[in-house]
Amino acid sequence: MPEISVKNLYKIFGDSPERALKLLEKGQSKEDIYETTGMTVGVQDASFEVEKGEIFVVMGLSGSGKSTLVRTLNRLIEPTAGEVIIDGQDILKMGKTELVKFRRSKTSMVFQSFALMPHLSVLQNVAFGLELDGIEKAVRTERAIDALKQVGLDGWENALPSELSGGMQQRVGLARGLAVDPDILLMDEAFSALDPLIRTEMQDELLKLQDRQERTIVFISHDLDEALRIGDRIAIMEGGRVVQVGSPEEILQNPADDYVRAFFRGVDPTGVISAGDIVRHNQPTVIWHTPQGSPRATLELLNNRDREYAYVLDSEHRFFGVVSTDSLRTLLESPPHDAKKKIEDAFIKEALVVKETEVLQDILPQVASHKWPIPVIDENSVFKGVVSKNRFLKTLYRSDNNSNM
């Protein structure tokens, strides 16, 4: 079951949203409605699901409705129509006290402008959510100190927010969000106000935190690099609509429309697409220490199939080496002729593997400098297939075409 499920969500700003909603149903555009009624459509028919434990990035230009959308998830902004189901509960049907309880226990939020209370110390700021919940002072102090440790700000408890740099202030904002131990963390352009170096540092920090403790994170951003860097999945918004949802690779390789394509123009696909995305299992493999895996049988196999390289695996399909027709022939023709030859003596020494998570950028040197298709393994060394020069170039050609159309 997804953690958050949003169905046909609308938000219209103005004095009679119901009327605007009817006009939308009749097929009028957002612009027409603004011209005739003066009402603004903030979010239009948004539907998506966020899985437990993933970082879900909502991306769009300013005015695309992404900040409005994230605020409907905890009802800081009251949606006009639709459903927001979180953990099986429709939060739009909650009463006041239920909503307060929901906000205290389920979600927390990190803001672009940090939104720290200037009259409270760092520690009091971090403990703010716990204080609202009426948690006893000793407990909340302990939890706040722990949250500050998680973001690397221990020792700053008694400082005032105004004494900290922007990056440190946002760490406090993050710690405040973590201190209440929420299931869902809403981050509204959380790192956009920081300078690029600090921003990258904070993104790493967030990923590190996510490694330790998986939370569902909805991250709003207008920065594509950021979205690609931290997002497990990305939703792209335009003019209040969610135009595409998918993993970075999916969106990059199959953009839904010109808008999305334009968005990704200038993105270097080699930094996004990983070896695992383009791996093919179309090369001959042989199993080590079996009759079929002997040097002579392997050479025969290659000759029959008219292939040049074979990949040697063990019985668990872990990768061991690459042999070529040349290396096999050299081995078989070397003296002594009657001795039993081992296939490992025919392994090409320079043949290295790449991991399936490595992006094209990282494997490019390997692909470019060797004649054989590069073997790809997963984290357990299991052979997943190969990436050939041909395949590599075709992928680049296609994404390049996508982004230039």
């Binding site: 800081l76 307060v100 906000r103 927390s108 402008s113 939104a115 209370m117």
Partner: protein, 279 residues
């Protein structure tokens, strides 16, 4: 008709009969308003007069020292001793009692009004002309109805002072609440604050410096009413000024006025540093 040679709208007669009607029919209501003011005032007045002057000087000096510093503390001692030597100690205590009781009521009424108009645009645009009227109507205009409704004396003086001194604290409280960054309110709500928690944990603490500036202004306005209140029989430092004015006794009027100025400076400095401390 439009040569404007005679009065055609007898508004003055209407107002007169309206006030007469109020006095006749709603005396109980105005007595009800008067009662808490009367109690507070007499309590403060008796209290201040019962405490030995040296103790009061010591306490004031201490407050001045804690809020501002040693310089204001020395000035306070000098000013109070000087006023005492002028023979105005009792008048000063009466004036302080009147100023404090009007400020107490201005605060009790003004801060909630200010908070509400800070949160509600409609209420603020309703309050604005009323506050403008309270501040700009010449005090002499409402002295007569106040005397008719509450008779003369210190209590009537305090009520006239409240009318005049209330607007700044309402306005500045509203301003302070409005100046709180909407993101901070949003952040508090996002972490599950109820509207009361937003008010007491975010809005009021952050508006406090502005509210304190309003309190300072209210105290100053209250002091500036001392002489006018004396016109309707209120005692205190205004009385010698009015007496001096009526008898052309320049010396008496001047030392009365000088004492008011000294008290004003002390109260102003103390409340100002309170304001900047809460900042």
């Amino acid at each position: 008709m439009f040569d404007f040679e005679e009065k055609l709208i007898p508004l003055d007669d209407w107002i007169s009969s309206f006030i007469d009607w109020l006095v006749e029919g709603y005396r109980w209501f105005f007595q009800g308003i008067k009662w808490p003011v009367e109690v507070t005032l007499s309590w403060l007045e008796n209290g201040l007069l019962a405490i030995p002057p040296l103790l009061i000087i010591a306490v004031m000096a201490f407050i001045a020292w804690r809020t501002s510093g040693i310089r204001l503390s020395i000035f306070t001692v000098a000013a109070l001793v000087f006023i005492g030597l002028l023979g105005f100690w009792e008048d000063t205590m009466i004036t302080l009692a009147m100023v404090f009781s009007s400020v107490v009521f201005c605060t009790i009424v003004g801060i909630p009004l200010g908070i509400y108009s800070g949160k509600n645009d409609k209420f603020e645009s309703f309050m604005r002309p009323i506050l403008d009227g309270m501040q700009t109507t010449p005090a002499f205009v409402y002295l007569v109805p106040i005397v008719m409704l509450f008779s003369i004396g210190n209590v009537a003086g305090v009520l006239a002072t409240i009318v005049f001194a209330l607007p700044p604290i309402v306005r500045l409280t509203a301003l302070g609440i409005r100046q709180v960054h909407p993101e901070l309110v949003e952040a508090a709500l996002a972490f599950g604050a109820t509207s009361n928690q937003v008010l007491f944990k975010v809005q009021i603490p952050l508006a406090l410096p502005t509210i304190m500036a309003g309190l300072n202004q209210t105290i100053m306005m209250a002091l500036s009413m001392v002489v006018i209140a004396a016109l309707i029989g209120a005692g205190g430092l205004g009385a010698p000024v009015v007496l001096g004015l009526n008898t052309l006794d320049i010396g008496l009027a001047t030392i009365g006025g000088l004492s008011i100025v000294l008290i004003a400076i002390v109260l102003d400095r103390i409340t100002q540093s309170l304001g900047s401390k809460s900042n």
